[in-house]
């Protein structure tokens, strides 16, 4: 018997309904998430996401170590877009302590972040389709993703948990081989895109599983603070890169793809288009890559940002990732509150999944792209 039953279990229920535990170890569950579903037949009457299985106390850890010692943690909050989180944290601290970042380092940050975003979307693409029954695209997109991982591994030395950022720059400069590899990847990615479109987007089974399924309304999105591709699929063109540009994003010409459907298909299309926009940003950044240093001459290890509160946000692959930092003027953070996009997405599921079928749960959860370690933190 579970000593801590979830609230839904305690509620009165009639004979017609029953409970189904989806997860925490379900083959199609993303990480260790438990969805407590109250069902009548196939119909979901209530959904209660139970989280906390991957809780690692990142926020508490931040209070027990110096500003720079928190760096390796940031890549592990969301292991699929670790680069964006890592560099985001660096930028937040830099702004707080007013550290100047060389222009070359800023451009490199944009390039690697966008590569990371494409990588994350490719993985989502593969696993989402795997969830709804298509094995083939998964194999193709993992081949493409592998290319990005190799490119990033060459400069950062790591494939997922990069720790590439340093206060005032990045740990290593990129070279001509990196630029050449990235360019050839962009060419390859653009060649693959029509193939993916043919293989997936026009597929009749895929469309039947996605069209009109899991519609998230504007009200729900507003109430739960949904951001990222899921919000853009509802028709709101909110993107932190455009709304509050950081790291020189204002120099690059890119579009914010939106759809109005708000269903799984709309989310799918937004992400696919986002990959192309990321390619465009990388191309422009590579073309205009300035020369110069990539990190300060002296390694910044001790840092005492002025006392006060500070908020900084970046656009991760899943949406608005914000850091609320409190400094007491010492070299240890007073508090770092992490606002992660997947948490809002998963919270909304109790409302979105109501009235849908069990089989659609997989499609809906897959299409919003949640990463559990980022929710539990």
């Amino acid at each position: 018997m579970n000593p801590h039953p979830a609230p839904a279990l305690e509620r009165a229920h009639d004979d017609e309904t029953y409970y189904l535990n989806m997860g925490p170890q379900h083959p199609s569950m993303h990480g260790v998430l438990r969805l407590l579903l109250r069902l009548r037949g196939e119909l979901i009457l209530e959904c209660d996401p139970v989280i906390g299985y991957a809780h690692r106390a990142h926020e508490k850890m931040a209070e027990n170590r110096s500003w720079i010692q928190f760096l390796p943690n940031t890549s592990r909050i969301d292991y699929l877009s670790g680069m964006i989180y890592n560099l985001g944290y660096c930028q937040a601290v830099e702004k707080m302590a007013s550290i100047e970042v060389p222009v070359r380092a800023q451009a490199i940050r944009v390039i690697v972040s966008e590569l990371n975003r494409i990588q994350s979307h490719l993985l989502w693409f593969g696993t989402f389709l795997l969830d709804i029954g298509g094995i083939t695209p998964f194999l193709y997109c993992f081949d493409d993703r592998e290319k990005i991982l190799s490119i990033l591994e060459r400069v950062t030395g790591s494939r997922l948990t990069y720790s590439y950022g340093r206060f005032g720059g990045v740990s290593q400069d990129i070279d001509d081989v990196f630029i050449e590899q990235t360019r050839s990847f962009l060419t390859r990615m653009r060649k693959q895109a029509p193939m993916y479109h043919q293989l997936v987007h026009e597929n009749v089974i895929f469309r039947k599983r996605c069209e009109g399924v899991g519609v998230i309304s504007r009200e729900v999105a507003h109430d739960y603070g949904i951001t990222g591709p899921t919000l853009r699929a509802i028709g709101v063109d909110y993107d932190v890169r455009r709304a509050e540009p950081y790291s020189g994003y204002e120099q690059y010409d890119f579009e914010i793809p939106t759809r109005t459907g708000g269903d799984c298909l709309a989310r799918f299309e937004v992400r696919i288009e986002e990959m192309e926009q990321s390619c465009r940003i990388i191309e422009q950044a590579l073309d205009a890559l300035p020369d110069g240093p990539v990190k300060p001459a002296k390694f910044i290890k001790k840092l005492k940002p002025p006392a006060g509160e500070f908020y900084f946000a970046v656009e991760s692959a899943r949406g608005h990732f914000g850091m609320h930092m409190v400094s007491d003027g010492g070299d240890v953070p007073s508090k770092i509150k992490l606002r992660t996009p997947s948490f809002s997405l998963l919270s909304s599921m109790s409302e979105v999944l109501e009235g849908t079928m069990v089989a659609d749960t997989i499609a809906i959860l897959g299409s919003v792209d949640v990463v559990l370690p980022e929710i539990d933190r």
Binding site: R65, S66, I68, Q69, F70, L71, P72, N73, T136, Y140, D143, E146, S150, E153, R154, V155, T156, G157, S158, T161, S163, R166, S171, Q172, M195, Q198, L199, E202, N203, V204, I205, F299, K301
Partner: protein
């Protein structure tokens, strides 16, 4: 769309998918047969850290300053060190890293003041115990005696040179004092030339 029409278009899309798969069957395999094929490691590859063996000195240059111990977020580095007879500064006598705790962030490498830390290229190590300790000084043990001998010789030589220099300076000073004493007895023109030479 009519019933038959949707069946037709459905089949068409399925066949398109099959066609793409068919094309890829003939393509080149991209799988790396890992244990049989050794992976190509990039230069920046991260695994456990190791101490650099410098060519000039023939050994590492760890001065046991504890900077890496202080910055390590996982507190996985243990260093002990102290003075060694005959050489200046401190020298590490024990340098261990518990790799089971390491998060591979590289802050120790960046913070090292003597640049004596670097990534090793170990990718296929495995352990059966919870403790996974690497003794970083072990590969350097064989060179330690040689290093100390050379170092002592160098420092002895430096000390000797310094002493010689000091002696030379003292000698020059004594000579100067003697010549000054002599010049006081001599004519004023001569003392002018000596002061010019001094400057």
């Amino acid at each position: 769309m009519s019933y038959l029409g949707s069946i037709f278009s459905g089949f068409k899309t399925l066949l398109t998918g099959l066609g793409i798969t068919g094309k890829e069957i003939g393509g080149k395999s991209v799988t790396e047969l890992y244990p049989h094929v050794e992976p190509e490691l990039p230069e920046a590859f991260r695994s456990v850290i190791q101490l650099v063996r410098f060519e000039e000195s023939g050994s590492h240059d760890c001065v046991a300053c504890m900077q890496c111990v202080k910055i390590c977020p996982s507190t996985c580095i243990t260093i002990e060190g102290g003075k060694i007879e005959g050489i200046k500064g401190k020298r590490a006598s024990e340098f261990e890293i518990d790799f089971a705790l390491c998060s591979l962030c590289g802050l120790c490498i960046d913070t090292c003041p003597t640049d004596t830390l670097e990534w090793a290229n170990i990718y296929d190590d495995a352990g059966q115990e919870r403790e996974w300790v690497y003794d970083l000084l072990k590969p350097h043990e064989a060179f330690e005696e040689q290093y100390l001998t050379t170092r002592r010789a160098i420092e002895a030589k430096e000390a000797a040179e310094k002493a010689a220099k000091k002696a030379a300076v003292a000698k020059a000073k004594a000579e100067k004092a003697a010549s000054e004493a002599a010049s006081q007895e001599a004519s004023p023109e001569k003392s002018d030339t000596t002061s010019e030479a001094d400057s």
